[in-house]
């Protein structure tokens, strides 16, 4: 229970379904937080909802794993010119590994979260599907789940729309009913941003912005903050629209080019994980949390899109679907 409306309602729905429910808030981050789930205010909200529902509430301190498995790799990825997705790493290592293991250890059958996604059992195999509310679907950040984990996961609010979630929360008089959705990375503060965190952890170095022929066309204060596909903030002035095509913090360069140069019809995937069997052939590929899914062919390493699209920033997760079903995914090379 993060202290948000989705996990609050998830707990309420489980109780209605007759489960024996205990609320848990993971304490992951001890740095500055502004209204994100590790702040005392959010933990207070989670506890108060648990009290309203009449269930026990515990706080698990997993700050060591979060630091090692999420924050450090996040900073290292930026230092290497990649665009990481820390929420996916948190799901992979914290929610659906450390927490799931702790729950099993304590004798619980499953861990439920407030994610908008659905789990189905089909002929003894677990399936992961998009949530019932297309606008709020969060299956993208769950592609790292496998059969064993899905067998012990519940996503109660994935079966209903976000509007219904809020309506249920209001009906139940839950204090979180009208809380805004969290959208930011929880350990990045609104005031200092990515910039402060990365400056403190890996240092920020200025870089040259060059075109395909190596001419210096602009400057950036920090190559570590540049993402492939980025257009603004490259010090390019006016003229034709140009985009970051590649980022190399070690060399201190960002290569830019026009929209045509940014388009690509392939992306290599590493660190593949599968919900069930490894998939090949025709898939739908989604390259960001709320982006569109494109038609593509996957050969086991290289993903070939039916049409060229803006290239996927290295480090981003690419999730493969068949219809609404998550097959698995990997990280863009």
């Amino acid at each position: 229970m993060s202290g948000g409306v989705d996990s609050s309602v998830a707990a309420a729905l489980l109780l209605e379904a007759g489960h024996d429910v205990v609320g848990v808030t993971m304490r992951l981050w001890e740095g500055d937080v502004e209204g994100t789930c590790c702040s005392v205010a959010e933990i207070d909200d989670a506890r108060r909802v648990a009290q309203q529902l009449g269930i026990d509430h515990w706080v698990f301190r997993f700050t060591d794993d979060f630091e090692e498995r999420v924050v450090q790799p996040y900073a290292a990825a930026h230092a290497a010119g990649l665009t990481p997705n820390p929420c996916i790493e948190c799901n992979r290592h914290l929610k659906f590994d450390r927490l799931l293991r702790r729950a099993t250890q304590l004798g619980f059958d499953a861990v439920a979260t407030g994610h908008h996604a659905r789990v189905r059992s089909e002929n003894g195999r677990m399936q992961l599907l998009r949530g019932a509310d297309p606008a709020k679907d969060q299956s993208y950040v769950l592609y790292i789940l496998g059969q064993e984990q899905l067998a012990r996961c519940l996503f109660p609010v994935g079966e209903i729309t976000k509007a219904d979630v809020r309506a249920r929360a209001a009906e139940l008089g839950l204090r979180t009913a009208a809380k805004p959705d969290s959208v930011e990375v929880c350990f990045v503060t609104a005031s200092g941003g990515r910039e402060d965190l990365l400056r403190a952890r890996v240092g920020l170095r200025p870089g040259r912005v060059v075109d395909a022929t190596g001419n210096v066309v602009g400057r950036v204060d920090a190559t570590e903050l540049v993402t492939v596909g980025q257009r603004r903030g490259l010090g390019l002035g006016g003229g034709e629209r140009r985009y970051a095509l590649s980022v190399d913090p070690a060399a201190g360069t960002v290569v830019v080019g026009g929209l045509a140069d940014l388009l690509s019809d392939t992306v290599g995937l590493t660190g593949l994980t599968w919900v069930d069997a490894a998939a090949r052939g025709a898939v739908l590929a989604q390259c960001s949390a709320h982006g569109p899914a494109f038609e593509a062919e996957f050969d086991g390493g290289l993903l070939r899109f039916a049409e060229a699209h803006r290239r996927v920033a290295p480090g981003q997760s690419v999730v493969l679907y068949r219809g609404d079903e998550v097959l698995g995914g990997g990280i863009a090379a």
């Binding site: 808030t25 304490r27 706080v59 698990f60 702790r102 099993t104």
Partner: protein, 375 residues
Amino acid sequence: MTVYLDHAATTPMRPEAVEAMLPYFSERFGNASGSHAVAREARKALDEARDIVADCLGASPGEIVFTGGGTEADNLAIAGRHAARPGAAVCTAVEHHAVLHACEALPDARIVPVRSDGVVDMDALAGVLDPSVSVVSVMLANNEVGTIQPLAEIAEVVRAAAPDAVLHTDAVQAFSWLDVVHAASPADLVAVSAHKFGGPKGVGALVVRNGITVEPIIRGGGQERDRRSGTYNVAGIVGMAAAMQATVAQRATTVERVAGLRDRLADGLLAAVPRSSETGRRVDKIAGNCHLCFEGVESEALLMLLDGAGVCAAAGSACQAGSVEPSHVLTAMGVPAGRAIGALRLSLGSTTTPADVDLALEVIPPAVERLRSAP
């Protein structure tokens, strides 16, 4: 059935304390600072309570400053002393945060390490002392591991190396178990908290020996001889006095009885659970403390299982959010992280029964085993 083994966190209120307080919530509601009949009634109760508290702490009534609890008493001792005579603040690395953070908030805080048994390192203490030191704070008994500090010996070192320094002792955990009149006598300032010995929460006291000056940290109407302003918490103070009196009257027999229960609990668990260890030396501990570490187990998970089985216990100090924090006490004692993560503090009190110990002995070993055998 709930077995309560967290008396170091707080104790159930003694019936005599509850009974003594009740009239001051209703008919005797007066403000003890006034002069009319209703006020005088409250004043009389306050004065009598002050006499009792002074007697139980080996002080004169004028040396007692009532506070809003142990944390405030510790802060008054350290910040108040520093304001009266600025200088370095010295404390041990195993102090309660009320002392540690109060010292660290001052410009020159010097933290003294402890030995692996939790007792202050005398050479290190002598090493940080000099005439610029304003206050030295050493707890009488530790809240996590129960270690008693040799205050008389510490006082000698302080007097020799920092003659102008005052010695403060946080006796919050010690009061139930030690003859504080004697044990805290080397200290100039002594802090206690009512709810640790069967009194109400939100009331405590600081002994400020005659001749020692502390500046107030809470200013206002000048109560407590200008050392702590605020309307007297008459009910709370009366409750604290009643709880103190009962604690002192029964202390010798309680200590003997609870030490026996604690020994049975600690020895039983050490025998039943492989890869378990006791923290600190038992001869140096207060009778109510049983602190063990179980390797290969996480305290958070163990506490949840024990709670489910009806045993209320703790790992150390809890943070505001309610999670288990790594213990600065175990770190200071050099307990390896792999052992510290499986810390369990069982703290017994005057209401602990042999049946409580029986249930704890029945529940804890299989809980540890269950956590160890989980995938």
